[in-house]
Subunit: 324 residues, 3 copies
């Protein structure tokens, strides 16, 4: 079981370094942070487009600044870098045009948070104001406010769509923004009861985008491999230790309608008291949920997949490996 | 900005006349009203079918009767006239056959409210009782009760479907029934908090039907243009002033599955505490939600669209114009 | 009205025998039961596959054992036998391979309840452990625990899918597991108010699976015809007496996305306070809901159908017959 052993080692690293990433989980609420982020839209060898982290700096109200760029994967990834804010934070996100041999504009439209119309990431034909996109040699800057009431998992994606009526959101230019609640707590079904769990007790977070007949995955940066966000690419195996709290973020994009199912686990449909193990995913609808890995079922290779037969037949599936 | 100026003037008219429409928003609950409505199923020049308001009278328990037919658009529209009841109200709805050169029966099947089987709007082949439809020269009358517990936004549509297995619900014969709660209040996410807002504080209401790859819109009659319900036809621009409470009613029909998204705004998924800015729409599923126009984001041309790429490419989109 | 008369007689039988089936609905909670079940995967004359009840024994903690096999339909049915547990119960389910002239493995993957990885019902290619399926002459046994927090309506189905990427879940090998809550109560919208109703007050339960363009139905065994679970096959007429509490369990399977609608009735979306009469059904998503038959609308042939026009045109519909 080489894979399992590797995971154990990685976890040890994680426990050491996680505290450096999650800032001061002490009693008083964290002060709001100002994030300055630069992303680049690049071309993958496959010809797909992808966002890439260039720089992420975080400033506290007391003026302290930290550079957390090293927490991200190197190079463009699908999905793009997962950005994590907290209610109250602000972000200034600059997009650099880095497509090879293409004058095609690229943009970032974000969901959920507040921003003025000039940060909408759409083209003038839609917003009536400006082409809010990066062009070769001309970056574009978006300003976001994670105001109270915007906690949640939100997609960000290209929105140059408009004229002509094509864009790049379904060609790889999509990523995830997580706004954690100021309370620091999220509801979860644990041992058969709905309780609030501390975000600081969540040991792993996985992003799974459902695009047509493929899952595109990512593991967040405060976890396994030396703090770095880990691109998992297509239909990945994701792993956890038995009993760990794990948060999944599942988001759709493209044209297909999906039905996400994870074997052996169940959770609360967000905002309700409904216990489920399967849910609808339409493009850009999303669901974040917390499970206790292997709760009541033990370790194993727990299958996850789209339950639309047509998509299963195209291989839209992966494994949630729970080890002791 | 001619359009903005026009809107401002129209709003002024609205403020004057709205009080004549919304009856006595004082403390004691409104007495239940008896509505007598006549609709006609007509043919549009395009060949599509559409419902048309012929007459709408409202009787109070004290015997007072008012004719509010003038509040509706003139001529057939898609969607059909939006009918607004309150929990406790009753309605007698007569449908007149007005199709040009066609003996095809037409009917009204309504969702949500109470009615006996002879008001189901189906054919005898389905209900075992009668062909509950209008034929040339033979109107049909339906009786509805907006009983307690039926508050909500509900579709009404042709249901002659049965034998043969075709009908006219996806050929234009659909419209909206709003049953407002007796409490006069609906939940909304305002400034990041879930609160109950008074219906009388809602300044604008927009209906958006999602049919295959097109939005069909309507603005309710107590708003902009001299009280009249305004047909907005396909993929409309809808407008509001910054800070106004606006209620959207989004309903699906036909065969396609949709994902509704409005830029720059977020709201509560009905009956839950889940904050969303995108939701699934299958045929006849619907969602009504309230936003404060431009809250936290300011004025602008806020794009709304189906997030299914295939449908975006077919132009399934419009604008929510928020002006100062 | 011969049909109505037959139903009345059947109901009388039901009232007599139901008490023998539902164990001791007195005050102290029922002790947890241990179920030992044998199912066979068989071939129907049509060539479709179907699960068939071979044997179901129930053991109380005091050692008493009852054989309730006679409560099930004889022969294979689509959907397969509906298994009813209660939170706290356990089940050992053995699957026997009974396909005619086929070495193809068959399995049971269940949703919602707890089980170890060797009861997952998947093939080794997915679970990394074993081919958890029945082969000719080699049955396979699954162990389920209906732990607290697993109450709900859950699908079970073949999951030999994996290598090759085909399976039998959409060829007839699917059925329903109901885990009733330990509280013995479920929420329902009755006379316009959300209340908790006793499960022992529910008089009828109908299962409706939505597969591509067809409903496949079943009536549970504690109801009409001499206690036996009644297979209703495709697009059935289901019946109830006016005012009876009826629970529907609607589940999707296959590739199509559906929109379930029942005429003249409305209910609460599970886990929310949202009143609906239509809901989304994606493969394996499900919704169980309680209505009071004919509440506010009286007797009649109340149509139910998928509201996707394409599916209606293929005859995806049936009748909920409410008689006085």
């Amino acid at each position: 079981m080489l894979r399992a052993r590797t995971l154990l080692i990685a976890v040890a690293i994680c426990f050491t370094s996680a505290s450096a990433v999650a800032e001061a989980p002490s009693k008083p609420p964290d002060p709001p942070l100002a994030h300055t982020i630069t992303l680049r839209a690049s071309t993958l060898p496959s010809g797909q487009m992808a966002y890439e982290m260039v720089s992420h700096k975080v400033k506290s109200p007391d003026g302290r600044e930290r550079d957390i760029t090293a927490l991200y994967a190197t190079g463009p990834t699908i999905p793009g870098p997962t950005l994590v804010l907290k209610e109250g934070d602000t972000a200034e996100v600059t997009l650099v045009h880095g497509l090879a041999d293409s004058p095609q504009p690229v943009s970032i439209h974000v969901h959920g948070v507040h921003y003025k119309i000039d940060s909408d990431g759409t083209m003038k034909v839609l917003n009536g104001t400006a082409d809010e996109a990066a062009f070769p040699g001309k970056p574009y800057t978006y300003k976001w406010i994670a105001a109270p009431g915007t906690a949640g998992t939100w997609p960000y994606h290209d929105h140059t769509f408009g004229n002509p009526m094509v864009g790049a959101e379904d060609k790889g230019l999509f990523g995830t923004l997580i706004v954690n609640p100021a309370s620091g707590k999220v509801p979860a079904l644990i041992d058969g009861k709905v309780v609030d769990v501390d975000l600081s007790d969540i040991k792993r977070e996985f992003i799974l985008w459902m695009h047509e007949t493929t899952f595109w995955g990512q593991e967040l940066n405060h976890i396994i491999k030396g703090d770095k966000e880990v691109p998992l690419w297509t239909n990945p195996t994701v792993g956890a230790r038995l009993g760990e709290l794990v948060r999944f973020h599942v988001i759709g994009i493209g044209t297909a309608i999906h039905s996400f199912h994870l074997h052996g686990h169940r959770w609360i449909e967000p905002g309700t008291t409904s216990v489920i193990d399967t849910f609808h995913v339409t493009p850009i609808s999303r669901q974040a949920f917390v499970v206790k890995a292997g709760e009541g079922v033990g370790p194993g290779d727990w299958h996850y997949h789209c339950h639309v037969i047509q998509h299963m037949q195209s291989g839209m599936m992966g494994t949630f490996r729970v080890i002791e």
